[in-house]
């Protein structure tokens, strides 16, 4: 297994919301990609957006601006 790093994790209630995130981020060149929901986070749809922690402010503003229904924001060692 790879060495753990600090990651920003964004969760969603539904896969549809996760897809909206991926679609908007890809179009706007925002950092991150979809990963399986880490076990540290108990609820949410089975996928999460993973991005460098430094991108948090940028992504939070982006998500708010695009009204993407994100559920939770986490910083985890993954």
């Amino acid at each position: 297994m790879k060495e753990k790093k600090s990651k920003l994790i964004v969760t969603f209630h539904t896969v549809t919301a996760a897809m909206a995130m991926e679609s908007a981020c890809t179009a706007a060149g925002m950092p991150g990609r979809l990963i399986p929901l880490p076990r540290e986070i108990s609820a949410g749809c089975g996928m999460a957006w993973s991005a460098p922690v430094e991108a948090r402010a940028q992504l939070e503003a982006f998500v708010k601006d695009r009204a993407i229904p994100a559920k939770g924001w986490y910083e985890l060692q993954l």
Binding site: T14, V15, T16, A18, C45
Partner: protein, 378 residues
């Protein structure tokens, strides 16, 4: 073969639909169950289809589009998920059994009371009847956009205004109109729009769904696997997962999405004009043939490309069979799952031979059908 049974299902699909299904069958995993590339490909394709459908119908957004296996399932979901004990519901004589039977069942179980706006002998309704039938318990109107038997439409702008004025839900069966007539959920004030994928949306069978307005909550018919919140004893409540238990028909939905994209690129108005030109050519060619009775209201071409007729008092099944055996023309005879409209038109016994046209039909095919009917009518 000349295929003129497009109101039952469209046979010829755009190449992009065939390619999308083939690609899906060879590359897609389960759309909400993992993040490896094939699962994500499927999830992206389903999302793309939701987005295109939301765009086509001006639905509030992709998350308000839930998939089902056809419009029958969507209508059951809408009707059973919306109405409660003691509600009064209004529907019309134009409806297909997929609207009537779920309503009759709720009525016979003593859950709802039902009133039906009558159709006259050309299949027209009087819009004032919707208001006349209102009572204190009225909660909703469930109606088709276009009759599968006559091709006549109901004016959804008008019905939507009535629903808004009286704070009613409006559930619309768009099985015959999706992709060929303008549908704007917001402008028309539609609460739930039910569609099927395999007719004028040009997708595969086994696909359909419903678009749900933002302020409308439907009780799900089924609960189960969602790929999310696995340890919760209850099914997630967020749309569209709320209405979608179990693995989606990702392969079919890939085809449906491609069909809807084909329609968005081609243009609903262009498709409608082509189909209506064929229907009009056919109608003009047959309506004055001796012994032929055409059903429905042809005073306006604000309709779908359906022409139902009979020859004398011949059984519609015999006529349709002769068209097939002698001319290789595919039509649909008999009763078209629309019992009340057959009664109104006076065709309960004889049924009717239905000719229905699509984007891929040609004037030559129409002319061959006219000649065939001319010979048969002699």
């Amino acid at each position: 073969m000349i295929y003129l049974d497009n109101a039952a299902t469209t046979l010829k699909k755009p190449d992009c639909v065939v390619q999308a299904v083939t690609h899906a069958l060879t590359s897609m995993g389960n759309s909400a169950r993992g993040t490896h590339d094939s699962a994500l490909q499927s999830a992206r394709s389903v999302f793309q289809a939701r987005s295109s459908i939301a765009k086509l119908f001006n639905a509030p957004g992709p998350e308000r589009v839930a998939f089902t296996k056809n419009s029958t399932e969507a209508l059951n979901l809408a009707i059973c998920g919306l109405f409660n004990q003691g509600d009064h519901v209004i529907t019309t004589d134009l409806e297909h059994n997929s609207v009537l039977r779920p309503l009759y069942r709720l009525e016979s179980e003593g859950i709802i009371t039902l009133s039906v706006v009558p159709a006259d002998k050309t299949g027209r309704v009087d819009y004032d009847d919707f208001t006349r039938l209102l009572c204190g318990q009225t909660r909703g109107i469930v109606c088709t956009h276009a009759s599968n038997l006559t091709g006549n439409t109901l004016d959804l702008h008008r019905i939507g205004q009535i629903a808004r004025a009286h704070n009613l839900f409006l559930v619309v069966d768009a099985s015959q109109s999706a992709g060929v007539l303008d549908i704007d959920m917001e402008q028309m004030g539609i609460s739930v729009l039910c569609f099927t994928g395999h007719k004028s949306l040009m997708g595969p069978q086994g696909t359909g769904g419903l678009c749900v307005a933002r302020d409308v909550d439907l009780r799900p018919l089924q609960v189960g696997g969602s790929g999310t919140e696995s340890f919760s004893p209850t099914h997630p409540t967020e749309m569209p997962t709320r209405l979608e238990a179990g693995t989606l028909n990702g392969h079919g939905i890939a085809g449906l999405g491609a069909g809807v994209d084909f329609i968005l690129e081609t243009g609903v108005e262009r498709i409608r004009r082509h189909e209506i030109a064929l229907a009009k050519r056919f109608y003009d060619g047959v309506t004055n043939l001796p012994g032929i009775t055409v059903y429905g209201d042809f005073s306006s071409w604000e309709r779908t490309a359906v022409v139902a007729l009979n020859i004398g008092d011949y059984d519609s099944g015999a006529v349709s069979d002769a068209l097939w055996e002698d001319y290789a023309i595919a039509t649909r005879p008999g009763a078209h799952c629309a019992p009340r409209l057959h009664n109104a038109l006076g065709t309960a016994e004889q049924g009717a031979v239905r000719f229905s046209f699509c984007w891929f039909n040609t004037e030559e095919e129409v002319d061959t059908a006219i000649s065939a009917l001319r010979e048969l009518a002699q």
